[in-house]
Symmetry: C2
Subunit: 470 residues, 2 copies
């Protein structure tokens, strides 16, 4: 059997950190213009082979790079993302640049204004290379449904990237971009990050403005950073949450490095989540978890098993909330132009319309109760660890599983481990873990306390370093 084609590491940004790029830019070893051309060349050459870009903004990117180079050489320094290429998921509005939501409904749609997070990125000096593939209306965890066709996993192009931030994950995994942003309602940053083998974080809601991002569920949607390493994810995250300063330019706005990036996690109390769900995990993902837990212990953390049966209740509750809110957003389109939806998306929406009002109300109340119960269990624990997804990346279009670990629905399996933290609104990050013999990437999910993204990123960075150095 022939080895499936891999485009992993095809691009120029693999194994180059944002901090390295920032240093090189400031030492004159490279210009933003050159980085931008590398990114555009790679996007043109390899992008179509994994279908990770929807639109490239060659003109806009070159103009932004020119400005970045001019600013940097004149001493105006916007921080670590200044002059660095970035990708933006295609449900996030970009002024003058097509934003298609992965759907026929928005064919040729060009917004007049940038989303708030895009404004933040531009203020940090980042160069937007283009818009990345999104599962249609961000309504699916596979990444293989969109008006532009399926995104393909750079590790094996017969397999899905995961979704819905499919293109952002694939572009970073292939090294076509150093960083990209996605959105996460049920796991849409973490699932493709895990399946493609990159880092992706779902922050606590309210930390990044949702203005200008096409919603799926206003209660559950968040915007998250994706990158090749935890440190790069942290740098991107800091730019996303920093408030753009329109009063004038003084530099640097953001430090070039993550301060005090830890190499140890002394006395960090890590809880290993135990519930019915965590029993339903494939062999390689169990191994990834064990490797990660060992690495955490080696880095000085204390681990303890934490039974959280509440996690098993989250799926049903999340489904009720997401369904009612998603149908409320799409009801007009379903009624006026159902044929413009992909048939699978239309089926999902029609099922979503069946949730009754009282079920939604009870789900919102149950969410509050579960959140309170779970937070109470975290009183003496700093973060949780569990798998990000229980299965390896399925094939393009594959919707059924053979009952391995009780899973029959691909979609259900993919979302199962990420939805709890979306529902409970805790920050969570996928960290890739190399497992010998695994055909596809594996990863673990670290879960922090609400608003504690810094602590979560620091622990993830220590884990990553320990995994690399062994």
């Amino acid at each position: 059997m022939k080895k499936a084609a891999s485009l992993r590491d095809a691009g120029p940004f693999q194994s180059v950190s944002v901090t390295d790029l920032a240093d090189n830019l400031r030492q004159g070893k490279v210009t933003s213009g050159e980085l931008t051309e590398r990114a555009l060349n790679a996007a043109r050459e390899f992008g179509p082979r994994i279908n990770c870009f929807v639109t490239l903004d060659e003109k806009g990117a070159r103009r932004a790079a020119e400005q970045a180079d001019a600013e940097l050489s004149s001493g105006c320094d916007r921080g670590p993302l200044h002059g660095v290429p970035v990708g933006v998921k295609d449900i996030i509005s970009t002024a003058g640049l097509m934003t298609g939501m992965g759907s026929k409904h928005f064919a040729g749609h060009v917004p007049n204004t940038d989303a708030a997070v895009v404004t933040s990125l531009r203020s940090a000096g980042a160069v937007i290379i283009g818009k990345t593939h999104a599962h249609e209306f961000a309504y699916g965890p596979t990444g293989d449904i969109a008006v532009t066709g399926p995104a393909l996993n750079p590790n094996d192009i017969s397999r899905v990237t995961g979704g819905s931030s499919s293109g952002s994950a694939a572009a970073v995994a292939a090294g076509l971009l150093p960083i990209a942003i996605g959105t996460d309602t049920a796991g849409s940053v973490r699932i493709p990050a895990s399946l493609c083998g990159v880092v992706g974080m779902r922050p606590t809601s309210g930390t990044v403005s949702p203005a200008g991002v096409f919603p799926l569920s206003r209660t559950l949607d968040v915007i998250g950073p994706m990158a090749g390493s935890v440190t790069d994810t942290a740098l991107l995250w800091r730019a996303m949450v920093s408030r753009p300063d329109h009063t004038g330019v003084t530099g640097p706005w953001l430090p070039l490095r993550v301060p005090n990036s830890p190499t140890q996690s002394p006395l960090l109390r890590v809880g290993e989540v135990k519930c019915a769900l965590t029993e339903r995990v494939s062999y390689h993902q169990i191994e990834a978890l064990q490797i990660a837990v060992s690495a955490l212990v080696d880095s000085g953390a204390v681990t303890v098993e934490v039974p959280i049966p509440e996690v098993d209740e989250c799926g049903r509750v999340h489904q009720a909330i997401q369904s009612a809110e998603a149908y409320a957003l799409h009801q007009d389109r379903v009624e006026s132009a159902p044929d413009l939806f992909d048939p699978e998306i239309l089926r999902q929406l029609r099922a979503a319309s069946e949730v009754s009002g009282w079920e939604y109300v009870l789900a919102m109340q149950t969410r509050d109760r579960l959140r309170e119960q779970v937070l109470a269990k975290l009183s003496s624990i700093d973060l949780l660890v569990m798998p990000t997804v229980p299965i390896e990346a399925p094939l393009i279009g594959q919707r059924e599983l053979q009952g391995e670990n009780g899973w029959t629905s691909t979609r259900e399996a993919l979302k199962s481990m990420t939805v709890p933290w979306s529902l409970l609104d805790l920050p969570a990050i996928n960290v890739p873990v190399v497992v010998n013999g695994a055909h596809m990437p594996c990863g673990v999910q670290l879960v922090g306390k609400p608003g504690c993204e810094r602590q979560l990123l620091a622990a993830a960075a220590a884990l990553e370093l320990r995994l690399e150095t062994g």
Copy 2:
């Protein structure tokens, strides 16, 4: 035709203000013990004839009165409600005293703790005489459905009190109590106040803790004061919102009088609401409105007509929210013991279960939009005036109207003018207006800005004074 029996003014508290009672108590002209006996005697004599009390707390009331007298004579003064009898709607928990929700489901139910608002009343020294009739689960605007039978309007016992705070309105209208508290989700304080001819205010949500009050719709429920006059309503309101002080007793906690109670409303800008709904009002209620507007102008206010078509949209939106939330609260009971509901309440709940999740989500969003639009129209207006109800009190059990002003449903007509302010969360108060030739009481509704209860009460007091002095 024989004049229908009237118990209006039957009791001892008609034409006696709380301020008079407070003065008399402090001058030794009367004791709280004596006031309490008067209230208990009147409740026993006249209460059953209008069915306004569910439970009398003779022991508890006498004990509270004894304590009030002892405190007052020892110089501990809790303010204007100290020693004054009060009634509490039977969906509001009272420790050790039956709280039946008007329903067979809660037959014999005795809570262990007081609702927060009851704690506030006790801390203000008020003497709780008993629990007042509530429409079953507060789920109806008529007041004629409860396990204890219909409440009867003291102005004409063949007619409904309005609901759901039916007993509180009736007891105050009959002079059996000087003050009472109710709850309001769609108009349940204002409708019975209007139909019985007393004052009742729906405050902005969040001003009185809902703890210990049986909910109907968590988004729309508020607790409100009811009294024979605006001034007494204001004094009761102040006691309801004051935080109980458990650190010790110093007095007086609350001033005996409403400070600077205005007799004029110079430069008050009053908007007369114009929309499709305000065209559907009976002759007597139109006259009441005209009398009130004239009185406001005479007291120095400036009036202007304000078209607010948004008001016409509110009913449908309110219905969706209340329905989904009400069914979420009662779903268990509907499934496990449907027969314990009155058939009309059960029909309402079954209809409420039909609201879909996406409709609820859209309704919540529409509410935000309507509120924003209406608040924008109030930028240069201090308060609004419109009818409280468009019809006179219907007969007990009457559910259909003959199409007068387009109304065919009694319930729909009764709620129509009060639901907009519940949905938009603006404070609103019913002020009785005497209309010559009207068989039943009439009233107008003043609507204030969010959180501006003091301004609303002051304007209502000026209106009331002008209406009395002519």
